[in-house]
Subunit: 155 residues, 2 copies
DNA sequence: CAAGCCTAGTTGAATGTTGTACTACTGGTA
DNA sequence: TACCAGTAGTACAACATTCAACTAGGCTTG
């Protein structure tokens, strides 16, 4: 059992800033979006993924993987969205186990209405607050972080 | 109503990387910590804040502000922690409305046992994955992001 | 083609979080 | 000292998330 390599003071400070900063950021984005459109950030993300997919349709497991959510969480989220009529589910024709989630026309309209507001909010709270270089550094760093976690998942 | 300034492709990619990267990161840290110590990341953070405070004691509202959690969430978290015997609550003597949350001796022991494991996990999943400069950039950027949100809170 | 194992997705219960309304105390003002 | 607006915290209900079964279909091997 090796002795602990503690974080030094500045590492500590930066890590803490990330922790509270992201917490504040996501809370604010969620709040902005929900106030303006009634949509939660999770739901919005589902719509974005669907909008980019062929036939605006994705398998549940693809959604789960892309959003980094548990399968069960996606099931519940999509069920709620289905009740609002913004997505629809149907059994996959190729794989009898699979379920495809498709965006409805109403879902598309909801997304189109929400997108400009959300983008403005992301700009106000993040993109226009950091420099282009900082954003690039952040993006690349977290790409690596995510990759590492995929290679070596918890549990 | 001005036309939307959309994100360009690289901004889009970096923003998405942050979104999924932090999601994966916090899920992994939470999982590591919970598996090793039975403590959730939230609860750990409460203990850390208390451990740094005079008398290892903080007002509920100070905890809420520091953790960027709602007052109600902190009430619940602290109640659960009190049931485990790692913190204790008492009415504030100076302000009759206030409640002070103090770390117990058991809480201190739990924190001391958990800290090395948690630090290792933070290193493995973040600190040792990015360069010192990247971490500094990230920390400073998010400090600014948080500041901006404080100046201009949602709702 | 049957057995066993894997993957996809759902279910329901336990747990956690949010939002609103409420109690209680404070501090300032008349 | 009586009022009133504001602050601290909690209670309860609605909602979201997690976790551990569970159903069902696919894939591989003998």
């Amino acid at each position: 059992m090796p002795t602990t390599r503690w974080l030094d003071e500045s590492q500590q400070r930066h890590w803490r800033a990330l922790l509270t900063g992201t917490s504040a950021l996501f809370a604010a984005l969620n709040h902005d979006l929900e106030a303006a459109t009634g949509l939660a950030l999770n739901e919005y993300e589902v719509l974005v993924r669907l909008s980019e997919a062929p036939d605006r349709t994705l398998r549940m497991s693809v959604l789960a993987e892309g959003l980094v959510h548990s399968r069960s969480r996606v099931t519940h989220t999509v069920r709620r969205m289905e009740e609002q009529g913004i997505v629809r589910r149907q059994r996959s024709s190729e794989d009898g186990r699979g379920v495809e989630c498709a965006m409805t026309e109403k879902g598309w309209e909801v997304l189109v209405a929400a997108a400009p507001l959300h983008v403005q909010s992301v700009r106000d709270r993040l993109v226009d607050v950091v420099s282009r270089e900082e954003l690039a550094t952040i993006g690349e760093a977290f790409e690596r972080v995510a990759e590492r976690i995929t290679e070596n998942p918890p549990s």
